[in-house]
């Protein structure tokens, strides 16, 4: 099993790594956006998919990362970019841990409201503060190398997915998470310290989102409250994961790629994306009603195909 998986993974990553050879700067920008959204969806999925806690406040963590990077790179601070990412990660994870400990005692719907309230509060805060530039936002010293940002987003996304795959699919941590998602009292009865596990998951998820926020700030070179903390960022994450498949490894990547490419196509074809929002709404409703396990559940043959491929491959390896 492992061999085919790894091989498939390596092929996908190799193709993605070769992508800049065939794309102009603009198309590469879109590919960079796909990587970013795939990473954000992956981050959201840790809490929303694996732990079963719907967060309506993840824009806050994306924003924390973006503001951490932008603030530390302002004149006078002049931090090197890569030094700012761990700061955003740690701050976001810390904030998530602090607010997560009490909020994650709340049952699902309350948690959703609490995270939403938290994100809106933070949005108001950056709007009011002087240090964040208020509504006028912050500029970041530009570094305009589209290949750099593509590879950086790609690397961050690959690391995020690997982290999820290793931590959630392959380790005790994942078993704990999925157990508490499916039946919290039963998980507790098996000795799983659910509140702690939830907080860990929330912090991990927030940290990953913050890293993408940091890269975003450096990439776009300008941030303001609405563009990095607006509710639409959370909306997109939720929809991407729901569409791809809640609590699956590759579902978020699938959902993110499809939605972001659709978004950009609608945008460049119609020159207007007002229609995009109602489409998002319809997708959510349709997925909840008809496809609760997301698009990945439409690929039942996938496992079979993989098994067959694996048999073929191991047979070949043995012959060699």
């Amino acid at each position: 099993m492992g061999l085919t998986r790894w091989l498939a993974g390596v092929i996908v990553v190799a193709v993605l790594a070769a992508l800049p050879l065939g794309l102009d700067a603009y198309s590469l920008r879109i590919a960079t956006g796909v990587c970013m959204w795939a990473g954000l969806a992956c981050a959201w999925n840790i809490v929303g998919g694996y732990a079963g806690y719907i967060s309506f406040g993840h824009s806050a963590f994306f924003g924390i990362g973006a503001y951490a990077t932008a603030l530390l790179m302002q004149r006078g601070m002049d931090w090197p970019f890569f030094a700012t990412l761990p700061v955003g990660l740690v701050v976001a994870a810390g904030v998530a841990a602090v607010i997560g400990a009490p909020t994650m005692r709340l049952r699902g719907s309350y948690f959703a409201i609490a995270t939403w309230a938290f994100a809106e509060m933070l949005l108001q805060l950056v709007n009011v503060l002087d240090v964040t530039g208020g509504p006028g936002g912050l500029s970041v010293p530009p570094y305009l190398n589209e290949h750099f940002f593509y590879y950086l987003m790609l690397a961050a996304a690959v690391i995020a997915y690997l982290a999820v795959w290793v931590l959630v699919e392959r380790s005790r941590f994942g078993f704990r998470l999925r157990a508490l998602r499916d039946h919290e009292p039963a998980a507790e009865a098996l000795g799983i310290r659910t509140t702690l596990v939830k907080v860990q998951a929330f912090a991990l998820s927030a940290g990953i989102a913050a890293v993408f926020g940091g890269i975003y700030a450096y990439w776009v070179t300008f941030i303001d409250p609405m563009s990095v903390m607006g509710g639409e960022i959370t909306d997109q994450m939720v929809v991407m994961v729901l569409l791809g498949g809640l609590g699956t490894v590759w579902g978020p990547a699938l959902g993110a790629s499809l939605l972001w490419l659709t978004n950009r196509m609608v945008w460049s074809a119609l020159g207007d994306t007002a229609i995009y929002l109602p489409i998002l709404g319809v997708i959510i409703v349709a997925v909840v009603l008809f496809l609760p396990n997301g698009l990945v559940s439409l690929l039942p043959g996938l496992g079979q195909l993989r098994r067959r491929g694996h048999r073929l491959l191991t047979g070949m390896v043995r012959k060699l």
């Binding site: 309506f56 909020t103 049952r107 409201i113 108001q124 009011v128």
Partner: protein, 290 residues
């Protein structure tokens, strides 16, 4: 002191309307166990309905209000079974899937409104206007006073309905225990859809009131969803009685913070308070049964 009284009056007038806005939301939670993210969406659509009734039919919003409520009740009656279906489905977390469903509906409403009517605000003018009523040092805008009265009348109607009719008895029974009410012969799916209809109709009606006071644009929904959440959480989710106190409280707090702390901080304070209430007492501070 004059300023304080004026701020208090502003807060009470708006708070009463916010309380009315939350009643339907609470009924829905009590009976369907669904947190309807789209509550602000119904307010927004109600406001637009009032606008179109005025623009196309020339109806004053206070006349079109019942009409709007009936139309949206029908819409809610059609949508209710879907929500009931998801809530009682065998999904891993039906409560969250139902929340996600209403979230999708909300995005659809907002996006649809943006797409159809774009970003600009619409005024819903009414014949009820004119100078403020001077009550000593306090100026009471006529329109707000009338809207407050209308909201109070609507709230009273809902209470009479809940406590004086057979239907209301069934609603309260289901809110107590869905299983037992079902055993007692209540058609729970049907009743749930009917409650959802009451909720959408009532909320859209309040949307008309709010549109006359402010104006309506596709983005107002988020704000009203926030207010409904706040009032509901403070009152205790599902509690209809606590809503009146919580609504007035929200209105007054927002108004006082705006005057004495700075209006920039009013949202910050509201969100912070909502958050604190959730943490300190998720069951609500004014928790009382339906």
């Amino acid at each position: 002191m004059d300023l304080f009284l004026q701020a208090l009056a502003n807060g009470v007038l708006i708070g009463g309307i916010l309380a009315c806005l939350t009643i339907g939301f609470q009924l829905t939670f009590g009976v369907l166990h669904v947190i309807d993210f789209a509550v602000g969406g119904w307010v927004m659509l109600g406001g637009y309905a009032g606008y179109w009734a005025l623009t196309l039919l020339g109806l004053d919003p206070f006349i079109s209000l019942p009409l709007v409520a009936v139309v949206f009740a029908l819409v809610g009656r059609a949508l209710g079974p879907l929500i009931y279906h998801v809530r009682t489905s065998r999904y891993a977390r039906p409560d969250l899937m139902a929340l996600a469903l209403t979230f999708g509906i909300f995005i659809f409403m907002r996006g649809g409104a943006l797409w159809l009517w774009s970003f600009n605000s619409r005024n819903v003018d009414t014949a009820i206007a004119g100078p403020a009523i001077q009550l000593g040092p306090v100026a009471l805008p006529v329109l707000r006073v009338v809207a407050f009265a209308a909201a109070a009348a609507l709230s009273l109607a809902v209470f009479l309905f809940l406590y004086r009719t057979r239907f209301g008895l069934a609603v309260r029974a289901v809110a107590q225990s869905r299983e037992n009410a079902g055993l007692m012969g209540v058609d729970v799916p049907r009743l749930s859809a009917q409650v959802y209809a009451v909720y959408t109709g009532l909320t859209a009606g309040v949307g008309v009131l709010l549109a006359t006071i402010y104006s309506v644009n596709p983005d107002v929904g988020v704000r009203y969803t926030l207010f409904a959440f706040f009032v509901a959480v403070l009152a205790g989710l599902g509690s209809v009685g606590g809503v009146l106190v919580a609504g007035l409280f929200l209105g007054v707090v927002e108004s006082l913070v705006a005057i004495y702390v700075g209006i920039s901080y009013s949202h910050l304070v509201i969100f912070g308070a909502l958050y604190a209430v959730l943490l300190i007492s998720p069951q609500g501070i004014l928790r009382r049964g339906l």
